[in-house]
């Protein structure tokens, strides 16, 4: 068996569920999620870490899954766009993007949603400047960003409305991850 095909077992928690697959050492996390675990919501736009479409939350923090080897996340926790909904209801960020027309083709959207989710967990009442900064690492070719900025603000509002006074360290599953102190 060549170096390219020797397999390593990777066990991790994805969207709250323990998943396991045996993959070559060179398998990217993006490909692992999409092709080994069948979670195709995470998209690959550039394969070199610039566009941010592949952003997922690794132990609660946004990472580029196209720049991460799957074997390096063994034992960790990953949240993808498929895991953002809460009890089957769209999350505040998902609602914000829908209400504000913050997506067109939708290809870059999962990356923005994951990025914004982590951002609003840490900063539930952001300023315009902070929102701009937060999404400035993700490329979108359709929307011109204006409605994305609006959507993140709207998500902050929804989050505050639905959860009452925002906690500085968030809520739900993500809050749970953050409480464990980030990456193990």
């Amino acid at each position: 068996m060549s170096e390219g095909t020797a397999r390593h077992v990777v066990t991790l928690v994805v969207n709250g569920v323990v998943r396991e697959a045996a993959v070559p050492a060179r398998r990217l996390l993006s490909d692992f999620l999409r092709h080994d675990l069948g979670l195709t919501g995470t998209h690959v736009g550039c394969e070199h870490g610039v566009c941010g479409a592949c952003t997922v939350l690794l132990d609660g923090e946004p990472v580029r899954s196209c720049l991460t080897f799957a074997v390096t996340v063994d034992g960790h926790e990953v949240t993808t766009v498929e895991g953002l909904a809460e009890d089957g209801e769209p999350s505040p960020v998902q609602r914000g993007f829908t209400e504000c027309h913050g997506l067109q083709c939708g290809f870059c959207t999962p990356g923005f949603l994951c990025t914004a989710t982590a951002f609003l967990r840490d900063n539930p009442a952001p300023t315009d400047e902070e929102v701009l900064e937060a999404v400035a690492g993700n490329l979108c070719r359709c929307t011109g960003y204006q409605n994305i900025l609006k959507a993140v603000h709207r998500a902050a509002e929804i989050q505050a409305e639905t959860r009452g006074r925002p906690e500085p360290h968030g809520y739900g599953t993500l809050g749970g991850l953050a409480d464990r102190g980030g990456r193990a």
């Binding site: 070199h48 083709c105 490329l139 979108c140 011109g144 960003y145």
Partner: protein, 796 residues
């Protein structure tokens, strides 16, 4: 009425799946499919001496390796030249896999199929191709000298040469009008290459059903019906045995209208040959070097004008760089040369273009499709005229506008659809008035003076355009109401994020009087609708929107006829509200559309309780007529087509205020204002979204994006690291205002909106930078270092 949805900012029906990761893009399909990968030429111009695949054969998981020599029949022929034109005397297209000669970096040479993409790329890396280098031809002006040739049999590298000329009303040629004019200016303009760059690249996935002898192809395309015809032709399959589906598509902007891409016929062929599912997903580098680019032109302008700035004669000569091949014909330079006139009436006009081969990626339409270059040319010209005369730039524009009472206005040219360039409607003076108000044009000099007092440089710019939208030949719509009361709408053209599912559902719900929740829309699936042209030229809403409206009207008429029989009423007295047909003013006399659908289809066999009403002993049928009367068809459905006599002409005007840093030469857009007229709005939220996205791409083209080729034909910036697309931090907030001048040409009174935002941006930014700096801007994009160079030149 609850069902009146046309014109409302209805939230998108696409979003629920797209924000939850449930969208289905090309690479999300076919999890067990084999993966294709390509060995592509690393050289811009070379002869293939030998291809040695032996080292690749040991790669575990390798399934097949194909070169041109393996291709049978029509597959071995050059790809189709999609849009022939008499002026395209030397059209050339590539082979699906290179035969003998490669003509740009990225041209596919070998196809590898393996168990997964990693292994396919392992095999690609082990294939040795021996090349004999030929002289690369790079740069349109160098190419036009014809010293070295891209194609041995194309003299001077000239693929096409075309002249259109419209004399003045008193019969003068452009040259005569210019020479006779009180003032004359002559200058050169230059625009760089950019590209569509959808976040999802291209991709193809094919399944061959050996038992059925049929092929299903999924492609990230803007035209599934045309891909279907091309695949059937190239593979020698009967058309009914091929179906092509465009799944969710992650952006197109033009590049995915070209077809068949080599991979679109090679992957299905491999699937059939191997009897296995095969998929190819383009990676980003492949997209840069093997898809398509646009924009690059050099323009020479001669303009003659009077003391008011009225253009009496205009002569434009364009060198258009179309890259190595011309699969999409000469649509881009035709559009540049015809749309250059914008909202203006010009005394006499002559335009000449040469479309030139270079050893670079082929050039096909990118959002705007030749118009950004056209508008750059016209608006730069008017700015120069204004500067020469010392007049306000908006005054010079107003002096040249076509007046509202002059429509329909014939520009005397032949447009990209082969039909006369006749503008249907518009109100340019009102657009300009709205724009000046929105940006605060008249108070800007004060603002500029205040900024100057603080040591800041700011400038204002303006740009106007007219966009021919909704070009033919046709689109169709099919509408079916089933016995559960659901409305199924389909149209053949495709979607890449424009929100067609939403706007077409709005149209159907409004036309039929049904709740939008009951309407479902399918686009780009040849199983549902086989006749279509595709999504390009800001045509989807105009073409399919009107076709769907017409199909709905047929269905509505039939529903009212059947309901009138059942209610013993006059069809003219019936209305449909919330999916229920009722007698106007008598809500109790009513019948749901679901029941009408049951009655529309005379049955022998009841499949459920409701269906019993349509069976033969139900007593519902008249004994005097056959169950399906002459001229009738079973079912509550209708199909119709919309085929316009000509294009509709949307228009708009943009203005920007920019600030240039006196030290770093950084250019920042402080404000950006848009007045947009696309006729009646179906969904203002979606139209605004289209404008925002277009302007953002325009900002990219004006300030950041260019394809940097070196003299060897190597694309030096083929990655998102080096090709600078705007992030949120580079795009200003866009202020919009709408003017609605309905089109008289179609039932809904609409015009296209998809491309508009991008069209005038380079012209507007150039105008504003020029105003801020007092220098002449004659090439775009303009980077801080470009501006710095211009400042140095001015200082000398």
């Amino acid at each position: 009425m609850t069902t009146k949805l046309f014109g409302e900012p209805v939230q998108r029906r696409e979003d629920a799946r797209l924000v939850t990761g449930q969208g289905r893009y090309l690479d999300d399909l076919g999890p067990g499919a084999l993966a294709a990968a390509f060995v592509r030429s690393p050289h811009a111009h070379a002869r293939i001496r030998d291809i040695d695949v032996s080292a690749a054969l040991d790669v575990e998981g390798l399934v097949a390796v194909y070169t041109w020599e393996d291709l049978p029949g029509a597959l071995a022929e050059p790809l189709p030249l999609l849009i022939p034109h008499p002026a395209l005397t030397h059209g050339r297209t590539a082979y699906p896999l290179a035969k003998d000669i490669v003509r740009h970096v990225g041209e596919p040479v070998v196809m590898v199929v393996a168990e997964d993409r990693y292994l396919a790329e392992d095999a690609c890396a082990l294939i040795e191709v021996e090349y004999e280098f030929l002289k690369p031809v790079v740069g349109v002006e160098e190419a036009a000298q014809g010293v070295h040739l891209v194609h041995e049999d194309v003299p001077g590298n000239v693929g096409a040469h075309m002249v259109q000329e419209v004399p003045s009303r008193d019969g003068r040629s452009a040259a005569e009008a210019i020479d006779a004019a009180p003032h004359l200016l002559e200058f050169r303009l230059d625009i760089e290459r950019s590209a569509c760059m959808p976040l999802e690249g291209k991709g193809v996935y094919a399944r061959w059903d050996a038992d059925d002898g049929s092929l299903r192809v999924y492609s990230s395309t803007q035209t599934s019906t045309s891909v279907r015809m091309a695949v059937a032709a190239k593979l020698g399959l009967p058309l009914p045995k091929v179906e092509v589906i465009a799944p969710d598509v992650g952006g197109g902007f033009g590049v995915k209208i070209v077809h068949p891409w080599p991979e679109e016929i090679l992957v299905p062929w491999a699937a059939r040959t191997l009897g296995r599912e095969v998929k190819w997903t383009e990676d980003r580098r492949e997209h840069f070097v093997s898809s398509a680019h646009e924009r690059a032109q050099v323009q020479h302008v001669r303009v003659g004008f009077d003391d008011d700035g009225r253009v009496l004669g205009l002569d434009v000569t364009i060198l258009h760089d179309h890259g190595a091949y011309t699969p999409y014909g000469i649509i881009v330079p035709i559009i540049t040369s015809t749309q250059l006139l914008g909202p203006y009436k010009i005394g006499a006009y002559r335009v000449e273009f040469s479309s030139i081969y270079t050893n670079t990626v082929q050039v096909t339409p990118y959002r705007g499709a030749g118009r950004p270059q056209a508008v750059f040319c016209m608006e730069r010209t008017l700015d120069r005229v204004a500067a020469y005369l010392g007049k306000d730039r908006t005054e010079v524009r107003a002096a040249n506008f076509i007046r509202p009472d002059e429509f329909p206005y014939d520009q005397g040219l032949i447009f990209q659809d082969g039909r006369p360039l006749i503008y249907d409607s518009g109100n340019y003076p009102e657009s300009l008035r709205m724009l000046k108000e929105l940006i605060g044009w008249d108070s800007f000099p004060d603002m500029k003076a205040r900024a100057a007092a603080e040591g800041r440089r700011i400038g204002i710019g303006v740009g106007c355009y007219v966009e021919g939208t909704g070009v033919g030949p046709y689109e169709g719509g099919h509408v079916q109401i089933t016995s559960d009361g659901r409305v199924h709408v389909s149209t053949g053209l495709t979607s890449q994020g424009q929100g067609h599912e939403t706007v077409f559902a709005q149209i159907a719900a409004t036309e039929l009087g049904v709740p939008i929740e009951r309407v479902s829309v399918v686009t780009g699936d040849t199983r549902r609708f086989g006749y279509a042209v595709g999504t390009f030229a800001s045509r989807a809403a105009v073409m399919s929107g009107n076709a769907i409206a017409l199909a709905c009207r047929k269905v509505r008429e039939k529903a009212l006829r059947i309901a009138a029989d059942a209610l013993e009423a006059d069809p003219r007295d019936l209305e449909i509200t919330d999916g229920i047909v009722h007698v106007a003013g008598t809500p109790s006399a009513s019948i749901p559309l679901a029941t009408v659908a049951v009655l529309s289809n005379p049955l022998r066999y009841a499949f459920d309780e409701e269906a019993k009403r349509a069976t033969q002993f139900s007593g519902a049928a008249s004994m005097d007529r056959p169950p399906v009367d002459e001229g009738e068809e079973p079912g509550l459905e209708g199909r119709d087509y919309y085929s316009p006599i000509r294009s509709t002409f949307a228009s708009g005007m943009h203005a920007a205020i920019v600030e240039t840093d006196p030290e770093t030469a950084e250019i920042r857009i402080l404000r950006y204002a848009v007045v947009h007229d696309c006729g009646k709005l179906i969904n203002p939220m979606i139209v605004e979204g289209q404008i925002h996205g277009g302007v953002a791409q325009g900002v990219g083209g004006a300030l950041y994006e260019k394809m940097v080729y070196d003299e060897h034909g190597q694309l030096l910036n083929a990655s998102f690291m080096d090709f600078l697309m705007p992030y949120a931090t580079e795009v200003p907030r866009i202020e919009t205002a709408h003017l609605e001048t309905p089109s008289p040409l179609n039932p809904l009174g609409i015009k296209g909106a998809g491309e508009a935002g991008v069209i005038p941006v380079s012209a507007v930014i150039a105008s504003a930078v020029e105003d801020a700096e007092g220098i002449t801007v004659d090439r775009m994009p303009i980077s801080p270092s470009d501006l710095h160079t211009l400042r140095l030149r001015l200082a000398q």
